[in-house]
Symmetry: C2
Subunit: 160 residues, 2 copies
Amino acid sequence: MSKRVQPAHLDVFDRKILAILQRDNMTPQRTIGDAVNLSAPAVQRRIKRMREEGVIRADVSVVEPEALGQSITIFVEVEVISETAEQIERAKSEFAAAPEIQQCYYVTGEADFILVIVVPLMADYEALTRRLFFGNNNVKRFRTFVAMDRVKVGLGVPVG
Amino acid sequence: MSKRVQPAHLDVFDRKILAILQRDNMTPQRTIGDAVNLSAPAVQRRIKRMREEGVIRADVSVVEPEALGQSITIFVEVEVISETAEQIERAKSEFAAAPEIQQCYYVTGEADFILVIVVPLMADYEALTRRLFFGNNNVKRFRTFVAMDRVKVGLGVPVG
DNA sequence: GCTCCAATGAAACAAAATTGCAAATAATCC
DNA sequence: GGATTATTTGCAATTTTGTTTCATTGGAGC
């Protein structure tokens, strides 16, 4: 399923490097080295190791949705009827497969799933609800929240 | 406030390039060029332009929270009492400033804000609620959802 | 058909990443 | 504590990648 990334012996150098890479992963190793007091090759080897260990899961460009005409961000709380392992797994893969679904979390509380959806128009969201929710007889109900402002968006994690 | 990113005249080349960069922005320009049938310099110039235009907002490493000991992801719906522009702006900057808050959206619907929070322990979340919610007399109520599984996580936007 | 403009590719160039290796550091064992 | 071993480092050389130059191509407008 999801890969384990437990202990991870990250020293203070690693953490400083991660802090930089989470802000800008195009920063030259030489510059990183200066910032953390390490040579460029040392930085390079640490980054390589952290990638292999799965500490760094990916390196991506962050694209402005509006530039692609995908100007609507929507949150959805989904509550399901049956929570058998099989049904939950089915829902997970269905949600994960939809390109409009940017993020999907399986949660405790008054809902079972929380989705972050990005679409060009409300009509697209409506079509998606028909397909994913009304067309799925294990969905009990769902609540929609439309984002008026993406105040803070990112995947940055505090380095401690 | 937030910078405008207009219509953005993105042709099919740009979109293909973005699709690749959203998956892996360390892909060599030559490789990208081969994939989209363009020379490396052409790819380089397009990427440069899209960065300047704000189409590409950032280039980052995605770090596994668990590797940093930040193993709890939490969603919070926040409902405020007064929705004056001033109060809302105050809340936005307060939420945006908290490092534990990875994402913050101002939304319509039964809540006013939706937050994505990443912390090492429940105790940290509890402390955060005291500071941000109980310590703020404009917060009417908030609902907490704890993530059991981060099914799909990313910031990828459909290019189609 | 001609000019102007923007975008392209090939080649030259610059910069950055990666590797090899000896030295330094840290850890382990007696 | 001291010797041995295993890591990790920095420097220098090498390779790969990114960037600039420049002549050419392909249109759009006239």
